[in-house]
Symmetry: C2
Subunit: 283 residues, 2 copies
């Protein structure tokens, strides 16, 4: 039997497909996300040339249906992305390749990859938070990915804010000033009138950003009690945010519970597709 | 082999001990919580008369150490309750009775009991929130109780507030205006100058209370994605809170994700000790 696994990082702007069994033997390709038919056909063609696969994982943008009892299990469901709503990505890929497929959210897969090979190796209780165009989060609790009724949507948590000190109304089209509405990349850009990377490290913007993100981390500590919170995504490339966030989390929790480690992912740009490979491997 | 399980609901003011295998055959006793030595000896005496037990569960006030790799596994740890800090409750009971003991938080055990016999029967993703003297929460994710680095401390989440509309600073000695600080029974009493049960159902207090509790529920939806949120405790005996909370949760989530059911526990005053029995049964 082959020992090669397949993985698809299905993103809103690009697909990354890879075969392998970890960071050491990854063979990958990348192409833009166009229509579901065209994009999924390209993925299938990549894996056909490398068949047989033992199993295949898909780490997808959401929302996705993760309930095995549902009729749309394995689908990308109500996404606003044109053409992609109600796409049976798992079925299309699985039937074409005759392989077992396991789908999960991109952020759940990233949490799994980091716990297998990255900064959370060996930890069973891990949160992966991405802070970029949006804010999303995935989690392992007791070694298992958190699903539930839908799946975590950590970016849409509500956090304290002082509307008088920060009058920016928030960018989330659903909630205005949820965490994503206040602290995503677009929120920083709209609030300050320039992209995040143009703001100097000593700008007031970063203290405010750290405070909002820390409130999100505090709420994750109070609900999931993770051992490590991994923070990735474009905004977190501003590495000076990490000490600010750690300081704000410690101040906010005020010694009440033990603090998790807070740090960046270790797998870099491969976190997503390695997450898909990890999904295939854990079956 | 006997098929009787033992359960201890170890509370800050009283202990409830029971043997049985569910709501149908519960034999119980209740006594006040005094010193650890005296209280635990009374529990041991109750179970000795009913030995042998197949296993014993303890649903305890916290914080407790749930990490099997820890030296203080099974202990009540840093509680402010006089005399009870660093009490090896699991070891004391287990050694005296020669029985396997499983300890968890009272709120995790309550979530488990409700999923076994109560309002969340058959559900794998459940949150149990108690709103009374404090606010605490437990959770089942994918059928397993959430532990992590410590265990959930849902009452200490941060939620949005308008400090200009509600100038009450909050009652939590650690965090001031965390969820417990704003919405526990003592917070209602201090803010309005009278106990919650004295406030009429159309008092402004309840809309504010529902809004804070709904923000907590929203954050639980965004992190754990439960199918049902069970809300118990003294404050939730004001049943008119439920429709207000459901309305506020729906408004806040604004159609972004599917809503969990929100309702009271079905097991009433036995939820705690049945949780302890359930801990023993799932092993």
């Amino acid at each position: 039997m082959t020992s090669t696994f397949g993985g698809i990082e299905a993103g809103g702007t690009k697909f990354v497909c890879a075969v392998g069994s970890g960071p050491q033997d990854l063979e990958r390709t990348t192409f833009p996300t166009t229509t579901p038919e065209e994009t999924i056909a390209r993925a299938i063609a990549f894996f056909r040339e490398r068949a047989p696969l033992r199993a295949l994982g898909i780490a997808s943008f959401g929302p996705v249906d993760l309930d095995p009892r549902s009729e749309t299990y394995g689908y990308i469901t109500s996404t606003p992305k044109a053409g992609w709503a109600n796409t049976d990505i798992s079925g299309m890929v699985g039937r074409a390749l005759g392989v077992q497929v396991r789908l999960d959210t991109d952020v759940n897969a990233a949490a799994l990859a980091e716990s297998q090979w990255g900064s959370a190796r060996g930890l069973d209780d891990v949160v992966y938070l991405t802070v970029g165009t949006g804010i999303g989060g995935g989690a392992l609790a007791g070694g298992r990915l958190v699903h539930g009724l839908v799946h975590p949507e950590m970016g849409h948590m509500r956090v304290p804010r002082d509307r008088y000190a920060d009058t920016y109304p928030g960018v989330c089209p659903y909630h205005g000033d949820c965490l994503e509405g206040l602290a995503s990349g677009p929120a920083i850009e709209q609030r300050w009138g320039t992209r995040a990377e143009n703001l100097p490290a000593d700008h007031l913007a970063w203290r405010l950003e750290a405070r909002y993100l820390a409130a999100g981390v505090v709420n994750l500590v109070c609900t999931l009690s993770p051992r490590r919170v991994i923070m990735g995504g474009g905004v977190m490339e501003q590495a000076h945010l990490f000490p600010l966030i750690r300081e704000e989390v410690a101040t906010a929790l005020n010694g009440y519970v033990a603090l998790p480690e807070i740090g960046p992912p270790a797998l870099g740009k491969d976190t997503g597709v390695l997450g898909a490979i990890a999904l295939a491997m854990v079956g």
